[in-house]
Subunit: 335 residues, 2 copies
Amino acid sequence: MSIQEVARQAGVSVATVSRAFNLPDKVSAETRERVESVARELGYRPNASARTLRTQRSRVLGVVLPTLLNPVFAECLDGIAHAAAELGYAILPVTTDYQIGQEERAVDLLLSENVDGMILVVSNPATSIALQRLRKVGAPYVLAYNRHADHPCVSVDSELAVTQLVTRLAGLGHQQIAMVCGQLSASDRAQQRYRGFLQGMQAAGLAPRLLEVPFIDDAAAALADLIQGDTRPTALLCSNDLLAIRAIRAVRQAGLRVPEDISVTGFDGIALGLDLTPMLSTVVQPNARIGATSVELIVQALIGGTLPGSESSQILSHSWRAGESCGAADAGSPA
Amino acid sequence: MSIQEVARQAGVSVATVSRAFNLPDKVSAETRERVESVARELGYRPNASARTLRTQRSRVLGVVLPTLLNPVFAECLDGIAHAAAELGYAILPVTTDYQIGQEERAVDLLLSENVDGMILVVSNPATSIALQRLRKVGAPYVLAYNRHADHPCVSVDSELAVTQLVTRLAGLGHQQIAMVCGQLSASDRAQQRYRGFLQGMQAAGLAPRLLEVPFIDDAAAALADLIQGDTRPTALLCSNDLLAIRAIRAVRQAGLRVPEDISVTGFDGIALGLDLTPMLSTVVQPNARIGATSVELIVQALIGGTLPGSESSQILSHSWRAGESCGAADAGSPA
DNA sequence: CTGTTAGCGCTTTCAT
DNA sequence: ATGAAAGCGCTAACAG
C-alpha cells in the first residue's frame, strides 16, 4: 500500500496525494476528498521510513533510561510519552539497566534510528561517553534527573531537598539520623542527595552516618545490621523510595515500629507510596512533569533549529509528602 | 555520514562497504579492515530508515500496552526488551491508557513505523478492532496476558489460578470471601479471574460476593464500605496486586489487622509485593517471561516467514507466593 | 572479490 | 492546482 497505488486509483499524481496529506491547502477541495476517500478505502498509511529518509526528520524522540522497573522512571516515561504524543512525536525508549556501557549502545542505536532528539537519564553527566558522542554529532538532547552546568538538564534540587529534610527531621527531635543509599558512584543523583545530607547534618550539628548498599539484594541484611547495632538510628533517610520501602520492612522485621521506633523517609514520590501503610513520607519529585518538560525543551529547540543549551536547564520544584512513616523522635516510648 | 562517504574514503564502492558490514565473508580481510577503520574514524552509523525502506524489514517490534504505571506491564516490557535485544530487535512501545480507541491508533502508528511484528495487551481480543486490522493487513502479532482461541496468546491460566486460590482460602477456613476487581468489562483478564472466583466458590459451596471498583480513585471508599458492612468478609481476593495493596491500606485504615482480621490476596506477582509488610500473598505471573516468550513466538514466525497462529499459544505456569497478607480465617481472635 | 545500478516510498523543487 | 522527476541511504541482483 504505497502512495503510488493511491495516486493511481485516485487518478492523480503521487505529488498530489502527498500534498493532500501534508499541505491540504495546496490542493483543491474536490481532489483532496477524492484522495482521502481512496486512501481510507485502501487503508493507506504513509511509510515512516521513506518519509524520514526523504525529510531527514523522523518525528521520533529517543529516550534513554536506567530501567522501567523503578516506578520513578516509568512515571517519567509516561510523562514523556504523553507530552510527545501531544506534540506529534513518537518515542523510542531504551533501557540501560544501570550499566554505563549500555548508555553508549543506546545512543548509537537511537542515532541509527534517526531520532530527532534524545532525552536521557545518565549515570554521571560529567564522565558520560555517551554524552560526549552526542555533543560531537551535534544531536539535540536533554538530561532528566541529572544535573550539570554544562548540559541542558531538567531536575529538582535534590541537594536542597535533602538538606531541608534533615532540618525537618532534626526539628522532630531526631539526633541519630542515618542515610541509606545505593552505590554512591552509580549516579550523580545519589551523590547530590548525599551532599544535601551532609550539609543538613552539619547545619544541625549532628554526626552523619551512611549506609551504602551497592547491591540491592543485600539491602535487607545490611539494614538489619544497622538497625540492630549499638546506637540505633531514630531515623533512616533513604536515597529513594524503593530503598525506603525495603527499609520499612527491615525495621518491622526487626520487631520495631515505623515511625514510633524508627522514622523512615524516601525520595522520589512514586505513586505507590500513597497506598502503603504507613504511607510513605517522602520528597516528591514531579516525575511526569520532568519528562514532559524535557520533551518541551527538545521540541522547542527542534522547532527553532537550535540545540538545547545548558542555559535552558530547569529546576522544577519538589515537595514534601508528610505520609505516615516519619514521626517525632520521642514517639519511641512504647504505646 | 553516509555509506557513500565511507566508500569514498576507503577507496571502494558502496556495495563493498555494505558487504563489509552485512556479509563480512564476502569481502577480503584486508578490505574489510580498511572499511571498518574508516567507518570507525568517521563515526559512521548505518541509516536504519534507508535500510528498512530497502529491505522491507525494520528489525523493530511494536509493543502495545495499557500503561507502564502498573508494574506488571513494566516488568513484562522489561522481559520483552531483553529478549528482543538478544535476538537483534529493537522495540517500540506504545501505551493506550486503557482506552480502546488508543489501541487502534497505536496499531496504526506501529504499522506506519514498519515494525516487523507486534506484541500487544488488548482490552478484549474478541471485540478488538485493532486486532481485526492486524489480521486484515496480515501483520504478525502475539497477544500477551490476553487469552482467546482465535489468536496467538501468551498468558497464564488466570481462571484456574483463581479457582485454586479460592480452594486455598476455603481450606484456611474462610467462608466470607469477597472478590475485589476493577471494571470487569475493561479487560478479559478481569473477567477470567472473576469466572475462576465463581467456579471456586461454587466448588467450595460458598456464596460469592463481588466488589467492582470502576474508578480506581474510589477504591478506598468502596473498600471501606465493604469492610465495615454488616457481614464483614474474612478474605479479600483482589483481582490484581495494585488493588490488593490498596485493600490492605483500607483494612488498616478501618482499624483492622491483615491478615488476622482480614486476609488480602493479590494477583500478578509484582516485585514490589515482596518488600511490603505484610509481604503480599499473591498469584505470581512470570511477567518478564510472558514478555520474552511473546518475543520468541514473533521472531520464530518472522524467521519462518509465517504468521504466529493461535495454535502457538502458550499457557505459562503461575505460582503462589505465600506472603504474609493471607492467613487462616480464625486467626481473627485478638492477639 | 568488487563494482554498477535499480529502486524501496516519499517529499519537494521546478515546470506547466 | 497539478505533474514530472530527482534523490534521501541503503541493499541486492547482476556483471565482471
